[in-house]
Symmetry: C2
Subunit: 394 residues, 2 copies
Amino acid sequence: MGISRKISKAMEASSWIRKMFEEGAQLKKEKGAENVYDFTLGNPITEPPKAFEDKLKALLAADTTPGTHAYMPNSGLVGVREKIAAYLKAQTGLPYAFNHITMTVGAAGGLNVTLKALLDPGDEVLALSPFFVEYGVYADNHGGILKPVPTTEAFLPDLEKLAAAITPATKALIINSPNNPTGVVYPKEVLTALGDLLVKASQKVGHAIYLISDEPYRKIAFDKTEVPYPSLFYKDTLLITSHSKDLSLPGERIGYIAIHPESTDAQALATATNFTNRILGYVNAPALMQRVVADLQEEPADVAGYQEKRDLFYPALTAFGYEIVKPKGAFYLFPKAPGGDDVAFVNHLKKYDILAVPGTGFGTPGYFRLAYCVRNSIIEKSLDGFKKAIEDLA
Amino acid sequence: MGISRKISKAMEASSWIRKMFEEGAQLKKEKGAENVYDFTLGNPITEPPKAFEDKLKALLAADTTPGTHAYMPNSGLVGVREKIAAYLKAQTGLPYAFNHITMTVGAAGGLNVTLKALLDPGDEVLALSPFFVEYGVYADNHGGILKPVPTTEAFLPDLEKLAAAITPATKALIINSPNNPTGVVYPKEVLTALGDLLVKASQKVGHAIYLISDEPYRKIAFDKTEVPYPSLFYKDTLLITSHSKDLSLPGERIGYIAIHPESTDAQALATATNFTNRILGYVNAPALMQRVVADLQEEPADVAGYQEKRDLFYPALTAFGYEIVKPKGAFYLFPKAPGGDDVAFVNHLKKYDILAVPGTGFGTPGYFRLAYCVRNSIIEKSLDGFKKAIEDLA
């Protein structure tokens, strides 16, 4: 008996993403990094905006206040939370105040803090497949059970299937719009119907079913697509986000939870997320990064850059015969796997030095994910391989 | 059903430290912060050393390498881990290499990552009381059960009681030297005996019992007291530390796990902590802070400053009649509670505007903790109150 048997098993069955990453590293070693087209990781090639660097330097130059690297309330610096609350209030019209905000170690930290605050052993968490594979692990971390619910062909919530999946054990539903891995954005009418469904279902089961809205891609939306706030359509919503994608800061681990101010349990949720942030060992989100991002809430993401990549990639693959729901945000394509077997097709793509992730890794076999947050030249040079790969199966 | 019933209960029974903190905040509001002597929190008043600020500014001025805020291996930046491994190798003579190091979100993150990697449901973790109260919560987070084992009158490991507490379910023992809350430092002979005991016990139960050595106070030792590395006395040791105390950076959440290079399971532990760092939602330790602390491993803590505080506080309280094991490190005193009832005495101290934490909060009733990482004037002005408080009980 060395390491945990449970962890040992989980590692064996672990994320395809990381597995592909390692195989990619090997392929790059053999062929040279420039000759491998790696679409496996949602790690933005885009650098943080100049405003980030400027703000960081300005803080360090100006600030001699004692205690700036010290402990703080577990939910984060009050001044930072006030700024974020003000931003969200301006965005949504909802009366967010600092006490509704818990600063977290990225969105991954925020999701764990939230699930720890909500779940008792055996509680069920619904996720709409395809979904970010770590949701299942996060629910399990805190004794919960993830139940995937299929979406429609357009990757939108299937309300009938969702209603059928809700039981008295259902504690929460996680949604993610703009979506990883599909790039789909949930429009207002979908969120309206979803909100209605959750109100009715909560009444039926006799307790609030929380909507956990994982929104790190909110600012990356194309063709002027509006990204409505799910919080506006259902009051028992926890908005969770990070600045990993919009400010390209994934390594700095900075994000937050925003509890709907009108949620039945707003105060209890705030107290609980403050507590679980501590007991999970995060203690608080990194202090310096809290202060930096507080003033960058209005900073836009590099939407034009990502849209250029999508407009390079999506039409070309479609022209080759790939079937793809056109993404309206984030930086992923989720095509159907030609031949139907996603694992086989992803293995086949390696013949052309292309790395992708099978849809199986997102609870949705038969598709594969391409993360196109890469240099345009990588997309361009990969196209010939994609063409040949689908032709091989014709 | 709103928040988790389990969390709701845990909050009710929660850490005395935080409770005292809130009462302290109230008292400060009433009396003015300068007039309350708050010894409840291990939040250093000492600012980070100048070398920290210099390094941070230098990094920002010099560095234009792309990807410095991007994702990275979950265990952290390889260059950073190489520097830390080199430092530990120089300190201990053990063949640490980068792959033995997992960068973590502080020591609290490191403890959770380690326990998640080690524990299966029902596994037992031993801790020597008095101990940092969060150990129990951390073990519970991952399905483990904390079993406190009393120490000797001098707060050193009681080897007989420890041996008696070990069962086939025992997976790990957590130690903490220099110790919170006692300030005790474990000398070589104690660690030698402890290592021998663990070797024998591991053979007896048929699996390695891991020694988790929580060492954030290593650099804060007085009177030139040597702080031996537990890793030198037992190979199945995981050293866990942070720079919260030695560099006064608790808000920045930066620390690491160092796996003993000769541990039976070194490679499996490294893979598992990489994995659990990810699945717990930490993902990786904050990138910028990793790079800052990599070059500050040799930086000394403000030992003289803390020793001055101890030498102001300990003799005075002893002269008033308080019974205290003289601390050799960290920044805590753990006196016996006059009258024997720690909760009653801590409440009594409030009469003199003194805030302390009952030993009950450290699994050891009958004592109380004073965190003296405060301004010297706070210690000086508090003394009269301490004198009166013990006289009241005479």
